[in-house]
């Protein structure tokens, strides 16, 4: 089942930092729809990572980005496992194996790292829509 407008709207609200709206929209997604939402989230993460690092990013850039996100609050510093986060980013750029990371941990990292990537990009509304459109295409492929 392809990604729905409701899933896109829920993720868009999160990335636009409209957390009340995000919570309301996410709460309306049933279990099957949340699976699609997770695919969209992962696809958006892949898209954002590639935009940030694919051209000129180095291993050091990945390390410093993760540290920057962790350093934004004490809670993030404790919640994000730096090595797992770095591996997740590298896996989006290469064929690094991350099968040993459990899905829950990966989901949590997608959420916080994607927010960090999008926040740094300071995307306009149109820019955010464009990124989500790209992510939607990728997620639709995955869900086919």
């Amino acid at each position: 089942m392809p990604v729905t407008d409701e899933q896109v709207a829920a993720l868009r609200a999160y990335l636009a930092d409209d957390l009340d709206q995000h919570r309301q929209l996410y709460a309306r997604l049933d279990r099957a729809a949340r699976s699609g939402y997770t695919a969209l989230l992962a696809a958006a993460f892949f898209e954002a990572v590639n935009r940030r690092f694919a051209q000129e990013g180095t291993a050091a850039d990945v390390i410093e980005f993760v540290a920057d996100v962790r350093g934004r609050s004490e809670a993030l510093g404790e919640a994000i496992d730096p090595r797992a986060a770095e591996r997740l980013i590298r896996a989006a750029l290469t064929d690094e194996d991350i099968d040993d990371l459990d899905d829950k941990a990966k989901g949590g990292l997608y959420v916080v790292l994607l927010a960090g990537l999008i926040g740094d990009e300071q995307l306009s509304d149109d820019g955010l829509d464009e990124l989500l459109a790209e992510a939607r295409k990728v997620a639709d492929e995955w869900l086919r």
Binding site: I63, A67, G71
Partner: protein, 176 residues
């Protein structure tokens, strides 16, 4: 540059920071001088001298030679870190600095261990408790190398730092 995994033996007793568990031991003036010289060689990238001094001290003193060197390392790290971060450091500063260390020296330094070591010497000894000794043995010299390297200390400032660390290390090792 001397590899982080030098052939220096681990200290016979745990030396994590100035507030950690005290160790006992006697340090002769000669030991102190050679510990300083070995650390100076490490920090200035004089691999040959470091190798010669570490081999000499290990052959002469056996496993106990690691205590003096580890004490010197720990006290130099304490002084350099406090000089760099001051008392009002934030967790984010520690996290970002450790990332710089790993960006410069590579991924073998475990980030969480290095952050805990650094917080430990900055006045939070609890955070450095229970660390894996191998991971700590990689983190301490890496932190020190980048701290001292970024400070770009002229020779005399490095000597002052090492002299102060030597006094503290001797106190630490002399504690019952």
């Amino acid at each position: 540059m001397t590899g982080l995994m030098s052939s220096w033996p681990k200290p016979a007793r745990s030396l994590t920071n100035g507030s950690g568990e005290p160790v006992t031991g006697e340090v002769s003036t000669r030991d102190g001088h050679q510990g300083v010289a070995a650390l100076r060689a490490f920090l200035t990238g004089d691999d040959d001298t470091f190798g010669q001094l570490s081999a000499h001290l290990q052959s002469r003193d056996g496993p106990g030679s690691g205590d003096t060197y580890a004490a010197m390392q720990a006290m130099t790290l304490t002084l350099a870190a406090r000089r760099r971060f001051g008392p009002a450091y934030t967790p984010g500063e520690v996290i970002r600095f450790v990332a710089q260390v790993r960006a410069v020296l590579g991924d073998e330094v475990d980030p969480l261990t290095a952050e805990r070591v650094l917080r430990g010497v900055l006045g939070d000894p609890v955070s450095a408790e229970g660390l894996d000794e191998h991971a700590k043995a990689l983190a301490v010299p890496a932190l020190l190398l980048v701290l001292v390297g970024q400070e770009k200390l002229p020779g005399e400032d490095l000597e002052t730092l090492l002299a102060q660390a030597r006094v503290m290390a001797n106190h630490l090792l002399a504690e019952p």
